[in-house]
Subunit: 435 residues, 2 copies
């Protein structure tokens, strides 16, 4: 078999066989197929599309490029959750301890932020000392001992996905639904998940900008997971405005801690409870939605979720005093509330623009591998539909210097549209998709 | 400007600007844009297609990647010819001296064979001592002195085309009509051609398999040349069976020499005369087709074309005794005529299969840079439509060893189809396309 023939076959719109896909991924992983051939292949896959069979074969080839975790000695059914990424999405920080405190072991590997979209690993690293580079052995040990792990993606799992993603990033082949599906699912399958809840975001602050794309992605993820013998549910959720109030790493950790203490923004709290209920149902901990929501609510109210979070921080080397007293988390030197320029109904709080403003403040990165400033960010004080009053705080900027403060103030002001007419609040979720 | 954005723009089907194309080719030539980005871009160009404007801009960017020849001190209008390649195509060996002997300076850079398709440089190198690596200085000096040069493509002209072609070859992006157009025309324009006759082959032994593709290529070449201010004519010619009888390097040189002596196969002779007439008209040496053909015929009959060929071989260091007595050209150790297995009408003499058989004999290469055996090849003794008689020679194999002989015999036998019904001969040319 020759790589150039596999490229030509896809170029001409034919379906690749399991063997051809495995040949290509194995060769690419072993550096036998060079980047330039993989790049041409990726563009052909992007433009010609992929069948469900090809997507499944690609996913499995990525899974088999490295180790796979077997968590069966720790839990009969490991349940995982994946968000397609957005602005202010700190759901995992609340959700993982909440579900774990319900008695369901949660072993989650998570990623870093890129561009306007934040990442859970960056947020966790706001907590001084918190380790996000656990070995597979430590990962399993901690899971067995306290029933929760929240760490970075292991380089040993699906290494071909990492290599392929780096190439997609520089060859304009990221935004392909089948390629996204195989990237997400290869990591989940390699990580040992038996059941997965997929939070597919749609809107200005998401990678999927249209409902059509989000539905295609959600359906594709559910079909693939089912084909691979996993229990899978996808929720399509709104990402036109930031989720919650905080955008920026330490600010988001503080907001997650508030939520675990039953404070925090209503949309974040409800989002976490809804996803938790799905996870509890998927793994059989609750028989129906009512029982699942009741269990999640009680576990949050009782403080058990917060205790589980605290236990996890301690186990992973984080300074517990900073989560006990979040004022001790890293803080920006400049904190400036920005007043609403007029009264009226908030019609837009553009997530992607606010996400970009936080990147410009130093709280995110445009290229992989760059360091970030965990202290900076933006707190929005209103959600779409709110009636705001001229002169009262619309948002607050946390910045490290005056020039960046001024730039962020302008950008975030421009992201807010206030009008005369009443505006309906945005929904949290649009659709729930099951096999 | 960022390479990834230019890739994404083409990926999404938008037309690239002159600046974007120049940015990409300049960056690629300077190794600032890596192969993997160029590969993704090429696949996007392949699958999304290119407008005439983009094809022109790409051609010009390739031209400007290196030196351009100015032949105006030697000739007011340099005329060139390009064939898209085929099996048994030794036209340049006859045509160049024929046109030069008519008093029109011919300065031609030509290529090597790849796959089933032969190359003029390889054929010329059958002549012991013949140099195909003239410097630009020697090239112009010889053109001024004797009015003819036939050499390899200079690495200084359109170097980006060479680099891009090497990448296309391994990324399944060769067979794109706009990419083929820009590759051909960039070399012709950089070589200083003011007028070009394009011999676009169509058939099993050509890169263009269908008339639709050949016409698209021919029209595209003519439009591009005209847009670039050149006189251009394209001929669409048949390449279902080998041109002439000989396939293989030294065998083809012998056949070209016969043709210059008024022998040789009729189809080759007519093909050369027709293309010569086009060149004579394009550069104003003849006012109409009748005058052009008359001049070409007289020049061939008079022996002047042969003398010009001989003069060129001498000027470029070739051993003249081997062209004076072609028996002295390199000869294969095994020469075996293969009889027709039955009587009947020759319905097919499959050019690509015969071309591949010669590659397998060692007379061609499947990968650039590999050496070849100039002695080996196949002589076909019949053209499609001929009535052949069982037991009389159908073709002759020239081989270096018995195993290769046997393989070639089977392959070339299978390439010949003899039937009961009379078959029409194939045409030489299908269409003539002008601006």
């Amino acid at each position: 078999m020759r790589a150039v023939d596999v490229i030509a076959k896809k170029r001409d719109g034919h379906e690749l066989s399991t063997e051809e896909i495995a040949f290509f991924i194995d060769g690419f992983t072993a550096d036998e197929i060079p980047d330039y051939q993989a790049a041409a292949w990726l563009m052909a896959l992007y433009l010609r599309g992929m069948t469900d069979g090809e997507t499944h074969d690609l996913t499995m080839a990525l899974v088999h490029s490295g180790e796979t975790l077997d968590l069966s000695d720790v839990t009969p059914l490991a349940v995982d959750k994946h968000s397609t990424g957005g602005v202010g999405d700190k759901v995992s920080l609340v959700l993982a301890p909440l579900v774990a405190a319900c008695g369901v072991p949660v072993a989650k590997m998570t990623g870093r932020g890129l561009g306007f979209s934040g990442g859970t690993v960056d947020k966790l690293e706001s907590i001084p000392g918190y380790r996000t580079d656990l070995s597979v052995k430590d990962f399993k040990k901690q899971l067995a001992e306290i029933g929760i792990v929240l760490t970075g993606q292991s380089a040993d799992l699906a290494p071909a996905d990492r290599k392929l993603y780096a190439l997609r990033d520089v060859t304009a082949t990221v935004e392909s639904i089948p390629l996204i599906i195989s990237s997400i699912m290869s990591k989940k399958l390699a990580g040992g998940a038996g059941a997965v809840v997929l939070d597919v975001k749609v809107g200005t602050g998401a990678f999927m900008k249209t409902m059509e794309d989000a539905e295609a992605l959600a359906h594709g993820l559910v079909r693939l997971g089912t084909q691979a013998g996993r229990e899978v549910v996808a929720l399509i959720s709104a990402m036109d405005q930031p989720l919650g109030w905080a955008v920026g790493n330490a600010l988001e950790v503080r907001e997650a801690i508030s939520t675990l203490h039953e404070g925090g923004p209503r949309d974040l709290r409800e989002h976490c409870l809804a996803v938790a209920a799905e996870m509890l149902m998927l793994c059989g901990k609750a028989g129906d939605a009512n029982a699942a929501l009741t269990l999640a609510l009680e576990t949050l109210s009782s403080g058990a979720a917060w205790q589980k979070f605290r236990q996890m921080v301690e186990a992973q080397g984080g300074d517990v005093s900073t989560v006990d007293d979040p004022e001790k988390l890293p803080q920006a030197s400049i904190v400036e509330p920005v007043p609403a320029p007029r009264s009226g109904y908030l019609a837009s709080s553009n997530a992607v623009e606010i996400g970009r403003a936080v990147v410009a403040l130093g709280g995110g990165r445009d290229e992989k591998g760059l360091p970030i400033d965990h202290r900076v960010g933006v707190l929005v004080h209103h959600k779409v539909g709110d009636l705001v009053q001229e002169g009262t705080p619309l948002f607050t900027v946390h910045a490290s210097d005056e020039a960046k403060l001024r730039a962020a103030r302008e950008q975030v002001l421009a992201a807010h549209v206030i009008g005369d007419e009443p505006v309906q609040p945005l929904p949290l979720f649009y659709r729930r998709i099951t096999a």
